[in-house]
């Protein structure tokens, strides 16, 4: 027990140490290697750019927009993916009819739809949300569909011997049994949602971190691009972290060793 604790503590220190080394390398490495600041700005200049962007570029406001679009797109995409996944899982006929279209859509790179959506909805938040919905939809639907298909037939027969209705079988067995694969889909989807939103923002409009990226690039402000990438990572971590927290709450009954590594 104590052995394990010391081992964990040592790992934490090693991790922190590595971070310090990384920061130092970032600060002084470019200078030593003669890399100009418009290629790799130093750690401190990125920090000062961050302070400036918070004040005069509305950095937090843009981050908030990106986060909100991600969250809305993620939630809508998840609901849509679950509903379609469950319907296709339950009805072999519906799957047979729809699967060629779904397969085609799944192969098409979803971010390529961004310009189209901007044409349709203009420089609003809707095209960004729509790209996120589209990109989130597939991993959710595929995981739910697969889970419904592989529910242990004996479990369903057990419920049937108690004279369960179709709806009870869905609610008490199929829905619950599909939750662990649904959550692996949610983990993937949470990071994909950020990608969808950012591409949407890069294509059109003057809001969000995607816009800041393009703006920083146009102004030759490499430090701003770095700051934006870091903020995007933070948004991604928030999205992914919320999924992991929710998963811990909902799937609390699963023994710890079965958790996929974070």
């Amino acid at each position: 027990m104590t052995d394990k604790n010391t081992a964990t503590r040592n790992s934490v220190w090693a991790s922190l140490g590595l971070f310090v080394v990384f920061l130092a390398g970032w600060e002084w490495g470019p200078g030593l290697l003669d890399i100009p600041p418009y290629i790799i700005p130093t750690a401190s200049s990125v920090y000062f750019e961050f302070i400036r962007a918070v004040g005069s570029e509305q950095l937090f406001y843009h981050s908030w927009i990106t986060f909100a679009e991600t969250a809305i797109g993620f939630i809508l995409g998840t609901i849509l993916g679950m509903v379609i996944g469950y319907i296709l899982g339950i009805s072999a006929r519906a799957e047979f009819i729809l699967s060629p279209y779904i397969l085609a859509l799944q192969i098409a790179p979803k971010v390529a739809f961004a310009p189209l959506f901007v044409l349709w909805f203009g420089y609003t938040i809707y095209p960004k949300i729509l790209v996120a919905v589209l990109i989130v939809f597939f991993p959710i639907m595929v995981n739910v569909l697969g889970a419904i298909r592989t529910v242990d037939q004996d479990l369903i027969n057990l419920a049937r011997t108690f004279s369960a209705s179709r709806w009870q079988i869905f609610r008490m067995i199929e829905f619950r049994d599909a939750l662990p694969p649904l959550f692996s889909g949610l983990r993937i989807a949470s990071t994909l949602a950020v990608i969808g939103v950012v591409v949407g923002e890069m294509v059109g409009g003057n809001l969000g971190l995607g816009f800041l990226l393009v703006f920083g690039e146009g102004a030759g402000n490499t430090a701003l691009v770095f700051v934006t990438i870091i903020m995007l990572t933070v948004v991604g971590i928030l999205a992914y972290g919320s999924v992991v927290l929710l998963e811990k709450k909902v799937l609390h009954y699963i023994p710890k060793k079965d958790y996929a590594p974070v």
Binding site: L155, L158, T161, S163
Partner: protein
């Protein structure tokens, strides 16, 4: 043996065929799983079925539970023709089929919940059964926290919770170690006798079939049909431990007879050649 109004389960000239696709070429073939099965079980009887693997024992049980319909012939439970799953029968398999997301108590209440029994009554019954199945103190545990034997006891409690008249048991103990198995056999035999349940019990364990039942049916290889019916004329059906101890010699004779009927020795000899 079984006659008149007291018959709980009856198979009348039952046959079941499956069509199966032969993999790649998609050619369909017909599997004759069981044929010409006639059997009836009286109220309160415990009857075992033994037979070679794949001879259709589970198929018979599934038809009794109404999960499949026979291809021909009829199955009756409580004089009623079985044409869908119904509440007269309880079903228990080798797999405990406990739901991982429910506590043991909620698992025991699973059938009651499906049948719309109100929560306070559900709780009363599940607590009572958990005590009978010696699981008191584990009601709030999740299935993965229990041993195999305890899980199977919880599955038995879940089966008994809906108070079925007839229990259909498909190798319920075959995944357990020898000691746990004997303890659960004892629990089951006592419960069946005090609750006056009727049971149809599938097993591959010849001693188990003799120790637990009033009668043993022997099935042939596929297409499975009943080739022999043996009355077990031994005391203590409700106490298999006592039966094993006091009637060791007779149990041995019954088992030898079953082995002859199943050609157990011969198959072994064939394999050696």
């Amino acid at each position: 043996m079984a006659n008149g109004k007291d018959i709980r389960i009856e198979y009348r000239n039952v046959a079941k065929q499956f069509t199966s696709n032969n993999g790649v070429d998609g050619a369909e073939s017909i599997i004759r799983a069981v044929e010409n099965v006639d059997l009836s079980i009286a109220d309160g009887e415990v009857v075992s079925i033994i037979g070679p693997s794949g001879c259709g024992k589970s198929t018979l049980l599934n038809m009794g539970a109404g999960l499949y319909l026979p291809s021909s012939g009829e199955v009756f439970v409580d004089q009623e023709k079985v044409d869908a799953p119904n509440q007269h029968v309880g079903f228990m398999l080798q797999k405990d089929l406990l739901l991982a997301w429910r506590t043991i108590q909620k698992n025991v209440e699973f059938g009651l919940e499906i049948q719309g029994i109100p929560p306070n009554e559900r709780q009363e019954r599940s607590m009572d059964l958990l005590e009978k199945c010696r699981l008191t103190g584990f009601e709030n545990h999740y299935p993965h926290q229990l041993s195999g034997g305890m899980r199977q006891r919880a599955a038995l409690a879940r089966t008994l919770a809906v108070d079925p008249k007839v229990l259909l048991l498909d190798e319920p103990f075959s995944a357990l170690d020898a000691q746990t198995k004997m303890i659960l056999q004892q629990d089951l035999a006592e419960t069946l006798s005090t609750e006056k349940k009727t049971a149809l019990f599938i097993t591959h364990d010849l001693v188990e079939s003799v120790a637990l039942s009033d009668r043993v049916f022997v099935m042939s290889a596929r297409p499975g049909t009943i080739i022999e019916e043996i009355d077990v004329n031994l005391p203590d059906r409700a106490n298999p431990m006592a039966r094993r101890q006091d009637s060791q010699k007779q149990i041995g004779e019954y088992v030898a007879q079953l082995m002859r009927l199943l050609h157990v020795g011969e198959t072994a000899a064939e394999i050696e050649i």
